[in-house]
Symmetry: C2
Subunit: 428 residues, 2 copies
């Protein structure tokens, strides 16, 4: 039975602050999805005795050890020889791997440096894990120390090589060999406009513990909800679909996407599908709304323009906000954003226009309008909505990000004919 | 002597893929700066026997153990009691800490939940590490196991609390107590427009190994260069200043900032100092230039507006780009960006205007203008510069970020009277 995993991340760059270890985060997440528990993550630099210690410790603790890093061509890449020594195996050249590496260099019209041949050496008895992208293949070998056998799986440290190898080879192998006949089926819901505790309440009692598990993950400004069912192949998928239908109905308008989709991705899809033209008028968000939208390929199909009117003169000159409004209500007011949205709609000739203005801080707050005061307005045929919100105090980038999320959610709600938010957190 | 450190990161969120452990990256970097070597990073979930194992292992390996996480108010926060048990000490209530926690809740007009009192408990003999931001203080206590003494330092897991505690308390304490009479003096240079190998060449031979160390860190789109000198207090600072002067002279226009300053921070400072008004006209960067600039407080002092003209009609209507230009040269052309910049300058009445247009991908490329083709123009009194670059193929966000960096560097160079780039990487 493979129940307990240890992740081993190696490399001087990880123990000197040069690189953040995102690999272990990725791997522990993948293991959790298939019900394998990560007992520990060990990280050490490229120092022989530390690697030796880490490997022996990892093999002792885990039924499976997933290692990243240390299989490159240079002298400080010590993983393969360390594993071979601990396993008591000799290194053996794998000719197909060597041919493949040579071929990769040939394709780049380069001659393979001789030290790259090292990447075709594996401990005797190891099974090769194909690397579809880079030069270094990985390998898998069972190692027994003091009567405990651990499945050692060695992967490269480069995330864009390690990830496809994990998804295409490692996870399927673990699922097939972990000694259980069950699989995990997962559905993810992305929510916005509902607090974590309200979300918790909303789905309470919806799924019995013996049916499946519900977990939340807050990653500002959205909260995702994950439903997991363990069961026999086929059955688990059917069951998770049934549970997902219940959750979907309960979440209603608060769920803006399923799976990995982002808010900007959903808004892009909706506007494109409906053939609607969007105009944006930003003040406090400073271009972030269109930056997020233009991160999605194809945004030119609906985004006509964004007028980032950071000064009052630009609000007047480009959007037609009146001097009286700015004088009597200020730039951070519902009156101002209503005129900004209407002006953007008219001047850009768009179907939908959204406008923001606010005090992102750290300076500029007043007792009447403290940092975190933001105003939004949406204008469309026969529609003019505006609100003033008081966001919880936070850093400047937090206020910008949060406001951009509200703006995108307003567009989504408008297109779908849902009520537009009465509060920045709709349900607490 | 404190020479070897172990970092201990605890929390179920770290062993299930929910949160990336950035704390250990930060801490190993800080330790490296003061010459303390991180032997290992251990990460375990909130499971009593795993915490016990990790703590005993960490104390055995390190002269100092820096721990993050597990000192919150809830039942799964087990760090303090685990450390007390291993140290063989009782837990003792620290009244000043309790008063401070109560007071923090009072300021938020809330009553302290009783379980927060747990955060004022410390092992007997521990020295408290003040938390200037959150409720949970940290603590330091020496623990001896099997004849080896380790300085245990316990910090909260929330980065914005952990970091000031590290900088204000932990690092100064380590420097004063590590048993060496030398200190490390560091100077950092931020560069753009020069490749890592050209940078390496530029400073080669400038600093002898016995004088100090030079290290590079590429973090796209900039490369930073760090000069470190170890020596007696005072002497090290004098020496590093001398070396920094040499480096500064050699880097010249490629160094846009020293220390932690960002490109957008430098541009903001320069425009504010010179009292120049900026206008932006973005196409392919989609708002990212003004998003970056408005991340810096005070950007309203110089940024008049950004016209994100994502459509051809907006380029014509808002910026006065001619239909003939768009027809004969296309939107991604030097001709178009020159008209965009000139139009922005005139219509916004600004001193400096910058414009971008390009093909960010993944679609939209042609044999003539593949993905990564970008055009920039800058307009100012008596100045009109434009260039077409071919950026190395990359993802959409990479092309956007890179182009925004070039644009900001152009503004910096213009204000400082430096030549504007002939190539996206000026020196290779």
């Amino acid at each position: 039975m493979i129940e307990r995993a240890v992740i081993l991340s190696t490399g001087d760059e990880l123990t000197t602050g040069r690189v953040v270890d995102t690999n272990s985060n990725y791997l522990t997440g993948k293991l959790a999805e298939i019900g394998i528990d990560t007992v520990a993550v060990l990280t050490v630099g490229d120092v022989p005795e530390r690697l030796e210690w880490a490997w022996r410790t990892a093999i002792g603790l885990g039924d499976v050890v997933l290692s990243t890093g240390g299989i490159g061509p240079t002298a400080d890449d010590l993983t393969t020889e360390t594993v071979a020594r601990i396993a008591g195996r000799k290194l053996r050249l794998d000719q197909p791997s060597l041919d493949k590496i040579r071929n990769m260099f040939k394709q780049m019209t380069r001659v393979m440096p001789e030290n790259n041949a090292k990447q075709a050496l594996f401990p005797e008895g190891a099974e090769i894990v194909v690397n579809p992208i880079g030069t270094a293949p990985g390998f898998r070998i069972p190692i027994t120390l003091e009567g405990h056998t651990s499945q050692v799986i060695v992967l490269p440290g480069v995330p864009r090589e390690m990830k496809p190898m994990t998804e295409e080879s490692v996870i399927p192998w673990l699922v097939a060999n972990r000694g259980r006949d069950t699989v995990f089926a997962v559905r993810i819901f992305q929510t916005y406009g509902i607090s974590e505790s309200a979300l918790d309440e909303a789905v309470a009692g919806l799924i019995a513990p013996e049916e499946g598990r519900v977990a939340f993950r807050a990653s500002f400004p959205q909260i995702s909800l994950r439903v997991t069912v363990e069961g026999r192949p086929g059955e688990a998928e059917r069951k998770v679909d049934e549970l997902a239908a219940r959750v979907r109905e309960r979440l209603g308008e608060y769920c803006y996407a399923e799976g990995d989709e982002t808010m900007e991705g959903v808004v892009s899809k909706l506007l494109t599908e409906k053939g609607l033209r969007l105009g944006v008028a930003e003040s406090c968000t400073g271009g972030l709304i269109s930056h997020r939208l233009t991160n999605i390929p194809g945004s030119s199909r609906y985004l006509i323009a964004d007028l980032v009117t950071y000064s009052n003169e630009a609000k007047m000159g480009l959007l037609g906000v009146s001097a009286e409004t700015l004088e009597s209500h200020g730039a951070v007011s519902e009156e101002c954003v209503v005129e900004m949205a209407a002006g953007a709609r008219k001047r850009l000739g768009v179907d939908v226009a959204i406008a923001t203005s606010g005090i992102a801080g750290p300076d500029g707050g007043t007792p009447d309008k403290p940092v975190g005061t933001v105003c939004l307005a949406l204008a469309a045929e026969g529609v003019s909505v505006s609100r003033r919100y008081q966001l919880r105090a936070g850093t400047r980038d937090w206020v910008k990000l949060w406001t951009s999320q509200i703006a995108l959610d307003w567009i989504r709600r408008h297109v779908l004919g849902m009520p537009i938010a009465e509060s920045n957190v709709l349900r607490r």
